[in-house]
């Protein structure tokens, strides 16, 4: 039986992971799981730890178990994310893992993450395409296509997955990612998916709330979006993604965004939004320098 199917052992921990309920994943009692599910369950816990930025703990946890490809991949990813700007070694290890243990799902997902994020997109896609019916892999492929601005390929991938996985959580979520790129009526559909997850007490998490807020921003419903982000920050005041989007929202609404930006700098100084803005400041100076205004004394 597929351990991820509705009746399988892994379904709840797996859903919790993808709903962004990382601490629930860590608290999950997996002792009763059958032995065949022990590794995937532990891998999910490791991934949750990585999502919570507990890289050192992950590295320590799996050291000595690198012979299991899943754990080796987890270690690589943790090492990579610990410092992505100085990570050639990790990327190399990931490439090696991809070459030798490319059939392992854990390797596909985690080493694939390293490859995709380090700019080796083609290799990452090649690695992920080896998956056998894994929605996690599908979701990553969709995400990579979207990062490549290939909404068409992403939509195709999601559509294929829907054919065999019907409306499992990840298919819905991946479709929503695509929908937020496509826009129009898809904004509303994406909103429904995120809202359904974000507002149900059992599945509420900053991840889904931020998703809901973003759909609302794109729908032009700023006050509602603000409420959702506030809910996310009530759960975790340091949630970097919620802060980044709150900054965008405040700017859109004509409010002062400096305070939120400050909070974001505290929470995650290397958030994409901040790096991007810094880059743009330099770009502005460069572009401005092409003009030589003359001032009347």
């Amino acid at each position: 039986m597929d351990p991820y199917s509705a009746e399988g052992e892994l379904v709840n921990i797996h859903s919790a992971f993808h709903q962004g309920q990382y601490s629930q994943v860590l608290d999950f009692d997996t002792s009763s799981f059958s032995s065949s599910n022990a590794v995937p369950a532990r891998l999910l816990k490791l991934r949750a730890q990585i999502a919570l930025e507990q890289y050192d703990e992950v590295i320590a946890d799996v050291s000595g178990e690198e012979s299991t490809p899943d754990f080796a991949a987890a270690k690589v990813l943790a090492e990579y994310l610990k410092d992505p700007w100085d990570s050639e070694e990790a990327v190399e290890t990931a490439k090696k893992l991809a070459g030798s243990k490319g059939d392992n799902l854990g390797v596909q997902l985690l080493a694939g993450t390293v490859l995709a994020d380090s700019g080796n997109v083609e290799e990452a896609l090649a690695l992920l395409s080896k998956h056998q019916g894994s929605l996690d892999a599908v979701a990553m492929i969709v995400q990579i296509h979207l990062q490549q601005n290939r909404t068409d390929l992403a939509a195709k991938e999601a559509l294929n997955a829907r054919k065999w996985a019907q409306d499992s959580l990840l298919v819905n979520v991946a479709e929503s990612w695509v929908g937020l790129r496509q826009g129009g009526e898809k904004y509303q559909s994406a909103y429904y998916v995120f809202e359904e997850l974000a507002q149900a007490p059992a599945t509420q998490a900053p991840l889904t709330l931020v998703g809901q807020a973003i759909s609302e921003i794109h729908l032009g419903r700023l006050p509602e979006a603000e409420a959702a982000l506030q809910q996310a920050l009530d759960i975790n005041a340091q949630d970097a993604d919620a802060l980044a989007n709150l900054m965008v929202l405040n700017t859109l609404a004509g409010k002062d965004a400096a305070e939120v930006m400050g909070r974001l700098e505290m929470a995650r100084p290397k958030h994409q939004a901040l790096l991007d803005l810094k880059e743009k400041t330099e770009e502005f100076e460069a572009a401005r320098a092409k003009y030589t205004p003359k001032f009347e004394a």
Partner: protein
């Protein structure tokens, strides 16, 4: 029929008694509705007549005068009367008001079976085992007609509801129809007959002298094989229904000339006791000794439904003439029931109500427009024809509805609504199944509950089950429970159940919940049971609960979180804290669906949408009180007539006497409230009005507690309480008043008081004097002695004829004197108890707080301005816009930039693999607007565009704007853990999916700038905060330079705003320059001549830029005053003239007229300045000197400020971005 149909018969009331033989409903009258009673009369085999309130379930009265069983009973249609007939052969007429039998009609010779009032004539019709049918006049209490013809017991006789006909049934197996038009003619004709004649004729029962007979048999209907027990006319059609011991119900039709049997309803397996036509529907209802109630289709004569009692034979049935209610009498009492639910199935989504009509058509109703759509679908095939759908659940994402029907043990149907309502079409592609209830739980999921199998299936839209849930035992219904959850209703509790986790999240013990109503924000729900409303949060925590004695029918939430609910006869409200009250009364039962402002939207029992007006003032006020929203309360107090004892006592009870005080007129109550909230001013005022000692007494106590001794003093004076008054003066140290008290005491001859006052004053002489006066010489002597007044001692001794030796003195010690007050504390009250002015009172008193702000900060002699004029100015601005539209036509100089821009990007159409272009790149490609390029992150091309469009060269001031626009352009969607978030671009074209038309959302639209910075800038002008003002206007210029608008009309509006902002900025910089050289001096005599000249010039130039008239007025007034003070009388005169002509402020005009008079005497300037009041000129933005028409000049291509041509090529001083005189194609703001 099967027993499965049983649920659709709804029992409303049951009584337990001996065998019920007769039943009558209290008739309904339209006006006044208060006379409508939910009553039934039940006549029992035990000789009692009972009067029940079936709504409350209470026995109101019992009437016991008959001897033996009472079989016939009827209410009068209009009078407070009823009639009964029994086995004692008697017919009795009763008043239910006086609760006694008025009189008895004797005449029948055997059991009386039925009695009925005529619907308009004062007649009673009776049938009896003596084989006769008789008509009685109850007004003169006489028998007027006896109809013979039946040759066995007549079991039943009834008047036709409109025509002069009677129908009767008899154990002789026949039904007879009688014509009584002759009787009516005789009794309504004017008559000059004697009473004896009338009697003779009434008893004759034969043709009278004109050949008329009172009553003749019209038809004899034969068809029953056994005795006939009951017969009834159809209310509108020429039909008759009869029930007999042959176990048959027969339907008969008649014309003017004949009558015949139509058909037979077969099904009863015992004697049929009674039958009738449904008052509104094509149904026949019959009851029998086989213990069943059966419902038949009138047109098909087939059984529709049936209901069986376990042990009781049915004897009689009655229908309420108006309401959909029936009552049936059986061996052990009476049951009142409905055949079907009358609550129309409906659902509300945003501004729309979806509901199912009586014809089973689905319709929608738009709350905003108050319009009803045509039918969208026909659900004729759902359930059985006589069973309306029970619930409707709406899914906006799929525009689908889920309808349930109780037919066949419960069925549901999932139907898509058509996009447009085009008539009652049969739905295509419906999904159906069986289930007791069905609700949507998510956009693509619904839950179906099956009560029999106690199972909930979660299904997707293709109707296949994705999940199965076992609800707690005894679940009777399910409702939507918030996203991903269900509320499961059991008889004693409500359970919040998480579908995904398959577990209970919460449980609340609450009995018999029937409906759940969610608030619009989804945070609260109201659980309605028969007599209780329980408000809970979305996590099922109880917030409040209330009990109603009358049945609760429906509820809906106000947007502010007030629950409005309807009972059978009222609409009421309840706040979250449980405070409730009546909003209005109802004539008929309605089902609330929505409340908006002063309107309540509801469905009536005919499933027609209705709008009822309500006055929400009371509950809004209470809500504002709970939320301490004083502004709102104030608003309500000012704008509505909210008075009345209830609100006052409410406020008092809730601890808001100071607010209650605002409503009360009655002085006594006002006094009480004022004391309660410590408002002494009001208390004093009211005490003065009422002037009663008791009130003064209470006021004095309260004032003393406050330390308000001035009020205390006044109350003591009023009470003539001299002692206390003196002591008060002593305490406050008011010597003067104390002296006066002493005088008064002397005047009154009150020695004790005098002594006291003297003591307080330390006035020894006076004391001695007093002692002497009352002949207390020893005391006088002692006093004098102790104070060392030897002379006085001597005088006393002399007066009493004694010498010092003769007196044995006790030791006197030191003389005591009261200390002298150091500070005049009596002059003001002591600040003992803070005055308790609530925010609310402050708001009420200081009604114009806004006004204070405006008044304060004038520093440079601007005087006041008023807002009305400022508004005036705005209106004029708008008129000016129309003119500028023409100019705008010239702005559109072509799309030349677009082509060039496009070249800068690589063509990336549809490569098979590899990266695509981001939406940000598309924006730049799709738009010639600089802001869109900024949002897309393409700063360089944005600068190029600005350079070409408005000659922009200095971009430093735009940096923060660039950052702002860019920062708002995209969101960051966290996706797979470990991967960077997905970037999505925020569009202003929300509904667009064509990639060639996508454009970014630019923050700070025109509207927000006009409402924000422009308004702020003008206020800063008015309040003379010019440094801030200049910043506001420059900010406007920068905001609009990098922006996009949504229409061509807005383009011209934006350009007007740009021009206005530039002119204000120029004007302010002129005035600021003047202030920088002479500061705030108005007398310039001390300054060197050139500074003086420049200052005067600048003040004149300040009047030139185009501003709102009220602001030009300010400039003129300031210039006039400065000129006048510095002997520039000619200039002053010209400003005064302009002010008189154009000024918007009456006060300024007044002083202008005065100055004009002064200046006209000697219109000369002391200093020659460069200001020609008669020439046309503009002011150079850099040098602040005049540029006369025709002289060479250059213009800022962005904001239009003029400069002397020497400044060409430099950066504009006003916008600080564009290059003066640069070639420019004009700013693009709209694609």
């Amino acid at each position: 029929m099967s027993k499965a149909q049983y649920p659709s018969m709804l029992t409303k009331f049951e009584s337990k008694s001996s065998r019920a033989k007769g039943i009558a409903f209290h008739p309904k009258r339209r006006v006044p509705s208060s006379l409508n009673k939910p009553w039934i009369l039940v006549s029992l085999h035990s000789s009692t007549i009972q009067l029940w309130d079936y709504r409350m379930g209470t026995l109101i009265d019992r009437f016991e005068e008959h001897d033996g069983p009472v079989r016939g009973i009827d209410f009068h249609k209009t009078q407070p009367l009823f009639v009964s007939g029994g086995d004692d052969y008697k017919i009795k007429v009763w008043s239910y008001q006086t609760r006694r039998c008025l009189f008895t009609l004797n005449g029948h010779l055997d059991y009386v079976r039925t009695v009925f009032f005529h619907h308009e004539l004062p007649w009673i019709l009776s049938s009896s085992d003596d084989q006769t049918i008789r008509i009685w006049n109850w007004q003169n209490r006489s028998l007027i007609c006896t109809m013979t013809g039946h040759n066995h017991y007549t079991m039943c006789a009834q008047f036709h509801p409109k025509e002069d006909l009677i129908v009767s049934a008899s154990l002789d197996q026949s039904v007879r129809v009688w014509d009584i038009s002759g009787l009516r003619k005789k009794h309504s004709a004017p008559t000059s007959m004697t009473f004896e004649d009338q009697m003779a004729r009434a008893n004759a029962n034969q043709a009278d002298m004109f050949g008329n007979t009172d009553a003749v048999v019209k038809f004899v209907l034969e068809g029953h094989d056994r005795g006939v027990n009951w017969v009834a006319f159809h209310p509108t059609l020429p039909l008759i229904v009869s029930a007999g011991d042959d176990r048959l119900v027969k339907l008969w039709r008649m014309s003017d000339t004949k009558a015949w049997e139509v058909d037979t309803c077969r099904g009863h397996f015992q004697n049929v006791s009674a039958c009738l036509f449904h008052p509104h529907q094509d149904l026949i209802i019959s009851v029998g000794e086989d213990k069943t109630v059966r419902v038949w289709d009138l047109n098909k004569r087939t059984s529709v439904q049936s209901f069986k009692r376990e042990n009781d034979r049915f004897w009689v049935i009655a229908a309420h003439p108006e309401i959909n209610l029936f009552a049936a009498g059986h061996d052990n009492g009476v049951m009142v029931f409905k055949l079907e639910r009358e609550r129309p199935a409906s659902a509300v989504y945003q501004n729309q109500l979806f509901y199912i009509t009586k014809e089973k058509h689905v319709r929608s109703f738009d709350f905003a427009k108050s319009t009803e759509s045509p039918s969208m679908l026909s659900l004729k095939k759902l359930g059985s024809p006589w069973m309306p759908p029970r619930t409707l659940s709406y899914n906006p994402a799929e525009r689908a509805i889920l309808v349930t029907s109780p037919a066949d043990g419960g069925t549901y149907e999932l139907v898509s609504l058509p996009r447009d309502a085009s008539g009652a079409v049969e739905p295509t592609d419906t999904k159906r199944g069986s289930g007791t209830s069905a609700v949507f739980v998510a956009r693509n999921r619904f839950a179906v509950f099956n009560q029999a199998s106690q199972q909930i299936d979660i299904k997707d839209l293709t109707n296949s089950t994705t999940k199965t849930i076992k609800p707690p035992h005894g679940t009777v219904d399910v409702y939507f429970g918030g996203t991903g959850c269900l509320l499961l209703i059991t008889a004693t509790s409500v359970v919040l159940y998480d579908i995904q986790q398959k577990k209970q999240l919460a449980e609340l013990a609450v009995n018999g919940v029937k409906y759940v109503v969610w608030s619009t924000d989804g945070l609260h729900a109201a659980l309605l049971s028969k007599h209780n409303v329980t408000i809970v949060t979305k996590s099922l925590h109880q917030v409040s609960t209330l009990h109603e004695t009358i049945r609760i029918k429906s509820a809906t939430w106000d947007d502010a979180g007030v629950l409005l609910y309807s009972t059978l006869n009222h609409i009421k409200y309840t706040l979250m804290n449980g405070d409730n009250g009546i909003v209005r009364t109802l004539d008929q039962t309605v089902y609330l669906v929505r409340v908006k402002g002063r309107n309540i939207y509801c469905l009536d029992r005919a499933a027609k949408p209705k709008v009822l007006a309500i006055d929400p003032t009371e509950y809004r006020f209470k809500l504002a009180l709970v939320k301490r929203d004083y502004d709102e309360m104030l608003n309500i107090i000012r704008n509505s007539s909210l008075v009345g004892q209830s609100i006052i006592s409410y406020l008092q009870k809730k601890g808001y006497p100071e607010i209650a005080l605002q409503f009360v007129q009655d002085p006594q109550t006002r006094f009480e409230l004022a004391i309660e909230c410590g408002n002494l001013d009001v208390a004093v005022e009211m005490a003065r009005q009422l002037d009663r000692p008791k009130l003064w007494q209470r006021l004095s106590t309260e004032a003393l507690a406050h330390g308000n001794h001035q009020v205390v003093e006044m109350t003591y004076q009023k009470l003539r309480n001299f002692d206390k008054l003196s002591f008060l003066y002593l305490a406050t140290g008011d010597q003067e008043k104390l002296q006066r008290m002493a005088k008064i005491a002397e005047h009154r001859g009150d020695m004790t008081a005098r002594f006291q006052n003297a003591l307080y004053l330390g006035d020894v002489e006076n004391r001695i004097e007093m002692f002497k006066e009352v002949d207390l010489y020893p005391l006088a002597y002692m006093t004098a002695k102790s104070h060392g007044l030897e002379e006085e001692c001597q005088a006393i001794l002399e007066a009493s004829g004694l010498t010092e030796d003769q007196i044995a003195l006790v030791s006197t010690g030191k003389a005591l004197a009261p200390p002298k007050p150091v500070v005049p504390t009596y002059k003001t009250n002591w600040p003992v108890k803070g005055t308790s002015t609530s925010v609310f009172e402050k708001a009420l008193l200081g009604q114009a707080e806004g006004g204070d702000d405006d008044a304060a900060p004038y520093t440079n002699g601007y005087g006041e301005d008023n807002l009305i004029e400022a508004d005036d100015g705005a209106a004029r601005d708008q008129m000016a816009e129309a003119d500028e539209d023409e100019d705008a036509a010239g702005w559109d100089m072509g799309n030349d930039v677009e082509a060039e821009v496009e070249d800068e990007f690589v063509n990336v159409e549809a490569a098979e693999t590899g990266a695509g272009s981001s939406e940000a790149d598309l924006w730049a490609r799709n738009s010639p607007i600089a802001a869109d390029h900024v949002a897309g992150g393409s700063f360089e091309s944005a600068m190029q565009l600005l350079n070409r469009q408005v000659g922009a060269v200095n971009f430093k001031p735009l940096e923060s704007r660039f950052q702002e626009v860019y920062q708002a352009s995209k969101t960051f969607l966290p996706a797979t853990a470990g991967m960077p978030p997905l970037v999505n671009y925020v569009r202003r074209t929300v509904n667009e999916t064509d990639s060639r038309k996508l454009l970014p959302l630019i923050p700070r639209d025109l509207e927000s700038i006009v409402a924000g910075e422009l308004q702020a800038g003008k206020t800063q002008m008015r309040t003379n905060k010019l440094e801030d003002g200049i910043q506001s206007f420059k900010k406007i210029l920068h905001l609009l330079l990098v922006n996009a608008v949504s229409s061509q009309g807005e383009v011209s509006e934006a350009k007007t705003v740009i021009r206005t902002a530039a002119q204000y900025a120029l004007a302010m910089s002129i005035e600021l320059e003047r202030r920088s050289i002479v500061k705030s001096s108005t007398d310039l005599a001390s300054f060197p001549e050139d500074v003086k000249k420049r200052a005067l010039e600048l003040s004149a130039y300040f009047t030139i830029p185009e501003m709102d008239p009220s602001h030009v007025t300010l400039a003129l007034f300031s210039a006039m005053n400065l000129a006048h003070k510095n002997k520039q009388l000619s200039s002053a005169l010209s400003f005064a003239n302009s002010l008189i002509e154009k000024g918007t402020n009456a006060k300024f005009k007044e002083s202008a007229r005065k100055i004009k008079t002064v200046c006209e005497r000697n219109p000369n300037d002391a200093v020659e300045i460069e200001f020609d009041q008669f020439a046309e000129f503009e002011i150079c933005g850099a040098s602040h000197t005049p540029i006369y028409g025709g002289s060479p000049s250059a213009v800022c291509p962005y904001d239009g400020t003029k400069y002397h041509s020497t400044y060409k090529g430099t950066v504009c001083k006003v916008c600080e971005v564009a290059q003066i005189g640069a070639p420019a194609s004009g700013l693009r703001l709209f694609v």
